[in-house]
């Protein structure tokens, strides 16, 4: 199984693509216009992530200073909001998010071998101080939302001796949420610094379109079809969804679709319209709304929906809408625009 959050920048993804090769100079100027809007829309998403990450870190620090049931609930809520803010920008797989594997630092996934639990148990039993430096050198499974989710939501952990607000667990929660907040802030800053590079290179038009295509494909295949048992061995399993501990798998999907709609679609619609594809642009915009219309009804933990045939129908309906959206963007629009996909990190098994 491949983690699709891993993306390599293919330094030599060369060869003039049709978008770049379009004849008139006006088109070059225009693709910079699209990128200007993308840059700004994605920045909004990154800034939101930075803000929510900060709130989470503050909330966790406050809770661990003076633990209370209310403080615990508020910390969970802050985790969820920051996690959803990450989901909204998760599709962006190029630029500053590639530095130091930030995407994996935010969310190491999938984790079939339960590395998160294993790493938590190792760190909590260890004698060494839990410090920001310790978190920084402990690998991506320690550094992001899944680790904080484990500490806040895991049922076996909550019933054990080390459950929050136990000292070392609290130290780990505070250090991990601080790591998330710092990463969110640096990402937003670096994205601003990336502006001239991004606007100056036509290649990023294709790159941006491909990132949304990959984001939709991951949503459909990995995040929904796989746990539904429509891929691979045909077994339904909530463990192949993300955020199963908090029951936020579906909420996270909704946030990712919403995020692509907010940060990608506006400039993409304009690009399609300029290429005399306004019907298709309209169709795609409608299909985003069709997918989002499944929410908030389907915004609930996935495990009971997988266990019950009536519940499963809700997932099927979401799956069908999502499939249609993916097909419109990844097949029809991509073909119209001549966006060619290269090898990506999901080509393994």
């Amino acid at each position: 199984m491949t983690r699709l959050t891993l993306t390599f920048l293919l330094a030599s993804s060369v060869a003039a693509s049709p978008l770049m090769a379009a004849p008139a100079n006006t088109v070059d100027r225009q693709t910079a216009e699209y990128r200007k809007q993308w840059h700004s829309d994605i920045l909004t998403g990154y800034q939101n992530l930075a803000t929510q990450g900060q709130t989470l870190a503050n909330q966790a620090a406050g809770y661990c200073q003076a633990p209370s049931p209310e403080g615990f609930e508020q910390t969970k809520q802050a985790w969820l909001e920051a996690f959803l803010a990450w989901q909204e920008v998760r599709f962006v797989d190029f630029g500053p998010v590639e530095q130091g594997n930030r995407a994996w630092q935010f969310q190491f996934w999938p984790d079939p071998k339960n590395l998160v639990a294993r790493k938590a148990s190792y760190l909590l039993k260890d004698e060494a101080q839990i410090t920001p430096e310790k978190v920084s050198e402990s690998g991506v499974a320690v550094q992001g939302f899944p680790m904080a989710e484990y500490l806040l939501y895991d049922q076996a952990f909550a019933n054990g001796e080390e459950a929050l607000p136990a000292g070392r667990s609290c130290k780990l929660l505070v250090a991990v949420t601080r790591h998330i907040a710092d990463n969110g802030q640096s990402l937003a800053n670096d994205w601003q610094g990336f502006q001239s590079n991004y606007l100056g290179s036509d290649q990023y038009t294709d790159t941006t379109i491909r990132s949304a295509m990959a984001g939709l494909e991951i949503l459909e295949e990995r995040r929904l079809a796989t746990p539904m048992g429509l891929r691979g061995n045909g077994k339904r399993s909530v463990y192949s969804a993300d955020a199963w501990r908090s029951g936020a798998s579906l909420a996270a999907m909704g946030a990712s679709v919403q995020g692509i709609k907010q940060s990608f679609l506006p400039a993409f619609s304009k690009l399609l319209t300029d290429r005399k594809q306004s019907d298709l642009a309209e169709h795609i915009a409608q299909q985003f709304d069709e997918v989002l219309a499944n929410f908030p009804e389907v915004d609930r933990p996935m495990a009971p929906l997988l266990a019950d045939d009536n519940g499963y129908k809700l997932l099927q309906s979401l799956y069908i809408d999502l499939t249609q959206l993916t097909s419109l963007v990844n097949d029809r629009a991509a073909v119209e625009l001549g966006v060619v996909r290269g090898f990506n990190s999901s080509d393994g098994d």
């Binding site: 402990s138 097909s327 098994d349």
Partner: protein, 432 residues
Amino acid sequence: MKTLFRPAPLALTVAALMSAGCANTTSPDAADSQPATKASVVEHYADIAHAGYEDALITAKALNKATDRLISDPTEANMKAAKEAWLAARVPYQQTEVFRFGNAIVDDWEGQLNAWPLDEGLIDYVQADDYQYELGNAGATANIIGSNSINVGGETLDVTNLTPELLANLNEIGGSEANVATGYHAIEFLLWGQDLQGFEPGNGERPVTDYATGVDCTNGNCERRGEFLDAVTDLLVSDLEWMAAQWAPNASENYRSQLMNADANEGVQKMLFGMGSLSLGELAGERMKVALEANSYEDEHDCFSDNTHNSHYYNGQGIQNVYTGNYRRVDGSLVSGPSLSDLVAQSNPELDARLNAQLEASMNALGMMKAKAESSQNPMPFDMMIAPGNAKGAKIVNGAIMALVEQTGSIEQAARQLGLEALSPDDAGHSF
């Protein structure tokens, strides 16, 4: 492991107007004097695959003999010989992995031989407090060797007679991909045992007395353990016989004949797709980057034997073989013929030179990993390279990753150079 992700994100297909007429014109002998054609290159690709699977079969038969000797006479020397035979069998097999991606017949079959990671508690005893299995796997602690019937997810199965057929049928029992009772890694576990060393030096330490008879037997069920090892090595041999036959020349009903009767562009596409997919997504990504960035020795490929460096090295070699058209067989002879390199050089010698240099560079980087792992002084196997805070190890692994990433860029260019670039929307996943 079976592919979870059937609709391949990348589907290179063929521009419709490409040379349709050259599919059945070659004989390998002609290659020396005549320029390579797509058809002759595909034919030689099948020759390399055939030689590779034959070598895998030859070495698997040697392994089968060695394990038979171990079972009938469990001495340290026979254990050592069996382990050496296993290591030797990996050399040709790992070079064939490049045939997986693009050739569905290989990908559908290989799970029974090379599935990984596996939850070894399905097969035999494990030390429970250091055993992390796949989440939700109901069969992870079934211990087939330790019981005559096992219960997985509510289903009870009679496992009294450990035959090759039974083991094959147990694969992915309970719907978990980690339930692997067959193949190289099951055999590896039966020879080496669980690796309890984590990031420390050392690998599995299964005592040879796990195969002893009577009171000398350690950890119980020695006779059944021997029966398991016997059945699983027999199955490996028969599986490889089947695959070698699929690539054999002069047969009318095998996979090779289908490949040769199809448009040669399809074959060339499979070659490049296999090279690129193994290079980037599988080897650089799944097998190295994940293990490194998460410091996860659970993601180590040959974890029981600490042979991961060779597994990676010979994967890389397989990629280079397909491009250069050269394969060094286990008996030392060289299989050589019309290659992708020849084809690319015809129209873009600069690209061909670059890709050849990049393949060489990635073999050097993987060679560095292999050398460090096998060094007589302070060897650093892959599971130590990926340990937290091991900057030196991380540098070696990253060097190999970057080299593979770079060559993949040129593989894509080679595909374009040969006229294979149109995006083919694959709707296999959209079956509603």
